[in-house]
């Protein structure tokens, strides 16, 4: 772990039973010590750069082992309010690794076809294959977040889903899938600034959606829905992490570190050769 960390984010950010989002400052930087001389942001950039090499190496090992039949994989599940930095996290944390080994799915509002199935159907089809680093940009949690806030499903159905999610994720864990579930936690003030930026910059208009302003009116309902999801669906095999995200540099290194930690826990050595190395050297020489 980089020396700028004083505590492992996996410990500092793990959601505890009864987590209250209101008690977590979105501008805080848990576990981060920083470097007084260099300043926090510049230190964060150094940590991100160093972590890239580490993440890329670990991801390559995972991929290589997958090629050789190892069934394990890692799945990052990213949730957060609009503008909380999901896309940027994908780009700056995952974007530096080998595209071949990354399976990214961005879940949008379900299509009519998807709606005809159980809410877990479309998600289960996108579970990463062996050796892959999977990323869900939004996920099945939308079905207990936006759907709860806007009463898009009856209360009993929402209630059923928490249990269904736990069962589903326990099943994934049994199949060798290590999940890292992240909520990017921003403040309404920070969101306002980020939306303002999208309205101020013509190269950001396309990221702006008038519905995002409407949704701001449901801020408290969303926070409640997140708290419930985090409390009801933090299982040993798939804990939730609440990552303060008002500071983008912090959110990125925190998610990166969580991913690196998950990969390290798999203790991935390079796979042994599936051929006779000396014999192949001889064959190659003669070729």
């Amino acid at each position: 772990m980089h020396k700028a960390w004083k505590d492992d984010p996996a410990v500092a950010l793990a959601a505890l039973p009864g987590t209250k989002l209101a008690d977590i400052d979105p501008a805080s930087t848990p576990g981060f010590k920083g470097d007084k001389k260099l300043g926090d942001k510049a230190t964060g950039q150094q940590v991100l750069d160093a972590g890239r090499a580490q993440l890329t190496e670990l991801q390559q090992r995972l991929y290589a082992r997958g090629v050789e039949g190892d069934e394990r994989r890692v799945l990052l599940i990213l949730q957060g309010m609009d503008t909380s930095g999901k896309d940027g996290t994908v780009r700056h944390v995952v974007g530096s690794t080998h595209p071949e080994g990354v399976a990214l799915t961005s879940f949008k509002a379900p299509t009519p076809w998807e709606r005809r199935h159980d809410f877990l159907w479309r998600v289960s089809r996108r579970v990463p294959k062996r050796g892959m680093l999977g990323v869900f940009n939004r996920s099945h949690y939308e079905d207990v977040l936006i759907q709860r806030v806007h009463h898009l499903a009856p209360p009993a159905e929402i209630e059923r889903r928490y249990g269904a999610i736990n069962e589903f994720e326990n099943g994934l864990a049994e199949r060798g899938i290590t999940m890292v579930k992240v909520m990017l936690h921003i403040s309404p003030e920070e969101q306002k600034e980020r939306l303002q930026e999208r309205l101020d910059r013509p190269d950001r208009y396309w990221k702006y959606n008038p519905a995002d302003v409407t949704e701001r009116g449901f801020w408290n309902e969303y926070q409640e829905a997140y708290e419930l999801a985090i409390t009801r669906c933090s299982i040993d095999a798939a804990p939730w992490y609440v990552v303060p995200a008002d500071k983008k540099w912090y959110a990125r290194i925190a998610v990166q570190r969580l991913l690196v930690g998950a990969l390290e826990s798999l203790d991935l050595s390079w796979p042994p050769p599936s051929f006779d190395v000396q014999a192949e050297k001889k064959r190659l020489k003669q070729s």
Copy 2:
């Protein structure tokens, strides 16, 4: 274009009618002027870094326009002998952009299910959606390369495929898909060294496949098959580029430049707002 280029690779590397691969030195660096003080490799790194920002910006524009309904997209088709650097090109050229906007497909030996369909079936299903930068790591060209060399299809069928490919690619062009078809051109000596490295480094064993040495015995047949494919399937809408690839740094900046050039030719401005900017500013302020 970076000042280290004296000629646009799109001109310097375009395959001409009757292209003979034997006449193209795999260790050459067409169009590249370099910088005497800095040295070629270091200059190449600078060019690559500068190109990353450019490619990422253009790709974001393409993606943003796609969100707004623009049907255009770009497809990089990568071919080359084993170890020619296809994976490395994907990682170092495409890997720096936004994962959300990249659709990468690596084509392996066709599955029994794929074999039951026409050879273009599996490829047509992976054509990038609008706004995407698509990448084919290997492609439908395998069906006139390995299949020709090893007589996996009757001569008349191979013959039919050249025409079918041209028709297919013309159809893609009509739908707004700009193709960049690249053959990474290495020498048998360079391949030998790269295979040797995979046998010398335990972290590269997984990349080694004994069949690659067997395939070296068919080098000339492959070169012939490539020449034929390049000659028969260089259409105006989808030209072939032969990229000398013994020097990895050169191959990367050349492919990067070809991609940037293709994107520049689309003249992609940021999409106009699909909402009333002033009204939204007011709404946001009041939210």
